[in-house]
């Protein structure tokens, strides 16, 4: 393959036929334009087929039986773990823990690592752009431990105020938890720099990768994060599975999060010994089929190519900014496209986000409206709610143009007086 081909722009039409749901026609005659990928992505038939195949041919509980089917399902489940491990460049597959979602992964760290390590007066450093799932578990930990929460403030254009880090990071800062990409602003945060500075201050760092892992290459070794949490359903996988990656010495030292089957070495009537990684953190029957589906999703993403996805989504974001600017009266929250991933949240004059979402829905366009589980961020920018268009590699430039046309009509309706 020539150099040009290797660097050429991804063609979404090559992949769209793999996604049955993208053929949907709604309201009688309008094709679906799915721009709500920040909430959850759609699945290609390869992932759906992997789920069907597992249930039809390979399904039993994992790690429990010695019968043939149990071996089959265990191999598939552990195979999925190896795929995740390679996808994020983790040193060993034992450091990849399957959870039921990114939220559970963060809660696991807040409960297990947090309860063992946080004391009154210690500090937890977050940012003002976090999703509620990366705020509330830390507020709960602060309430249990007497620790203090601090937040890295935001600039007016939706980036982290890095100048504040010197004052916020010090010897009492025990953990820094931040998102790699804002689910509202789309801002790509300079996580490597923050991780380096947090480590200098002696803090561990958890990265919320829910919006980043699906859209750009991830290398936990290069990033040097201590924990990474993400979900399967935002990256072509099924709902019900997420991942926690952690550094081995931290995971080894952490007490189990939930008690139950699988997570033990042995149980007596007067106590138990926890099992080894990763079983220690996978109590009960794990999300077997969702994890296998996630493995298939990773195969698909690798075939498309994460660098190509990232480059293509930059184009979509640039087009979205152009199109929305042309509508007039649109205020985009967040920075210029060069600092962003494929997420564009906006307001349109004084038309409420729910009215925008409802009216563009009639053009087949699915966007989210509300506070996107980030109420503090919306407060920071003085709005109650925004409409959010969020892209994936199967979206086309033409779909973004349709959003612009639909918004023109919304404006027209409210300007009838």
């Amino acid at each position: 393959m020539s150099v040009t081909a290797a660097t050429s722009i991804l063609n979404p039409e090559a992949f769209r036929p793999d996604f049955p749901i993208l053929d949907t026609v709604l309201h009688g005659n309008v094709p679906l334009v799915y721009l709500d990928n920040g909430a959850t992505s759609q699945r290609p038939r390869q992932v759906i087929q992997a789920i069907v195949d597992t249930y039809e041919r390979h399904y039993a509980n994992v790690h429990r039986g010695i019968h043939w089917l149990a071996d089959q399902s265990t191999d598939l489940y552990e195979g999925a773990r190896e795929k995740v491990c390679a996808f994020i460049n983790a040193p060993a597959k034992e450091q990849v823990i399957f959870t039921h979602g990114a939220t559970e992964a963060i809660n696991l760290v807040a409960r297990s690592w947090g309860d063992a390590n946080m004391h009154a007066g210690d500090e937890i450093l977050l940012t003002e752009m976090e999703h509620h799932s990366n705020i509330v578990p830390w507020q709960q930990l602060a309430a249990r431990s007497g620790a203090v929460l601090r937040y890295i403030p935001l600039t007016d254009d939706g980036r982290l105020e890095l100048g504040s880090l010197d004052g916020l990071l010090h010897e009492r800062t025990k953990i820094v938890a931040l998102t790699a990409i804002s689910n509202v602003l789309g801002t790509i945060n300079p996580v490597e720099e923050i991780i380096r500075r947090a480590h200098q201050a002696g803090a561990v760092v958890l990265i919320d990768g829910a919006q980043s892992v699906p859209h750009q290459p991830t290398d936990v070794a290069a990033m040097d994060c201590d924990f990474l949490a993400f979900s399967g359903h935002k990256m072509l996988g099924p709902s019900g599975v997420g991942v926690l990656y952690g550094k081995r010495e931290l995971l080894d030292a952490m007490p189990p999060f939930m008690g139950g089957g699988s997570m033990i070495r042995r149980v007596r009537l007067d106590g138990f010994e926890p099992g080894d990684l990763p079983a220690k953190f996978e109590a009960g029957t794990p999300p077997i089929v969702p994890a296998i589906g996630l493995g298939a999703a990773i195969d698909y993403l690798n075939a498309v190519g994460m660098p190509a996805i990232q480059r293509y989504e930059c184009l979509l974001t640039e087009r979205a900014h152009e199109v929305l600017d042309r509508v007039g009266g649109v205020r985009i929250l967040g920075p210029q496209p060069r600092y962003k991933s494929g997420i564009v949240s906006f307001t349109l004059e004084r038309i409420h986000a729910h009215d925008i979402a409802q009216l563009v829905d009639r053009h087949g366009i699915a966007v989210r409206a509300g506070h996107h589980c980030a109420m503090p961020l919306h407060k920071r920018y003085g709005v109650n709610a925004t409409a959010r268009a969020s892209f994936y590699f199967y979206n086309t430039l033409a779909e973004i143009d349709k959003l612009g046309e639909a918004l023109q009509q919304v404006k027209g309706l409210f300007h009838r007086l």
Partner: protein
């Protein structure tokens, strides 16, 4: 492009209430008030009443911030009950509120429509206290 449903949902009557609401503001003499929001969408409605001892609503005003549905519904509700009695408010059911609005709403949008109804039902039981004396609300209309 727009379906019949949609034309109805954003029909003139509703947009009129949204753009030019009835009694949006504050009671000059407020005896009862309540404010609430839909936490999922952030819509806020506040109701202020001037209730007479005989149970008559001398005046009712609303304020708020939110989608077309929630604000238009508040305007319609206030228009209906201005000058009526507390007993009539108590008898006015959620279903009647949806009928008053007039357009069939999906479950999600029914919450928008019922927010002002819920706030009014609570307001008649919420005598204004001294602490409320800062005119108006901390949130309604200027939440940011």
């Amino acid at each position: 492009m727009m379906s019949l449903d949609e034309e109805q949902l954003y029909q003139e009557h509703i947009l009129d209430h949204y753009e030019d609401p009835y009694h949006r503001g504050h009671c000059q003499h407020c005896t009862h008030a309540h404010e609430d929001d839909n936490p999922l969408c952030g819509d806020v409605v506040r109701m202020e009443l001037d209730l007479l001892d005989n149970g008559q609503i001398k005046e009712v005003y609303f304020d708020g911030d939110g989608c077309c549905i929630s604000q238009a519904a508040a305007s319609m509700l206030v228009e209906k009950f201005d000058g009526r009695s507390v007993e009539e408010v108590k008898r006015f059911t959620a279903n009647e509120m949806l009928e008053l609005f007039g357009v069939r709403l999906t479950a999600n949008r029914q919450k928008c429509c019922l927010l002002p109804w819920r706030v009014l039902q609570a307001a008649i039981y919420s005598p204004r206290t001294e602490q409320d004396d800062d005119q108006g609300s901390a949130r309604a209309g200027k939440d940011s």
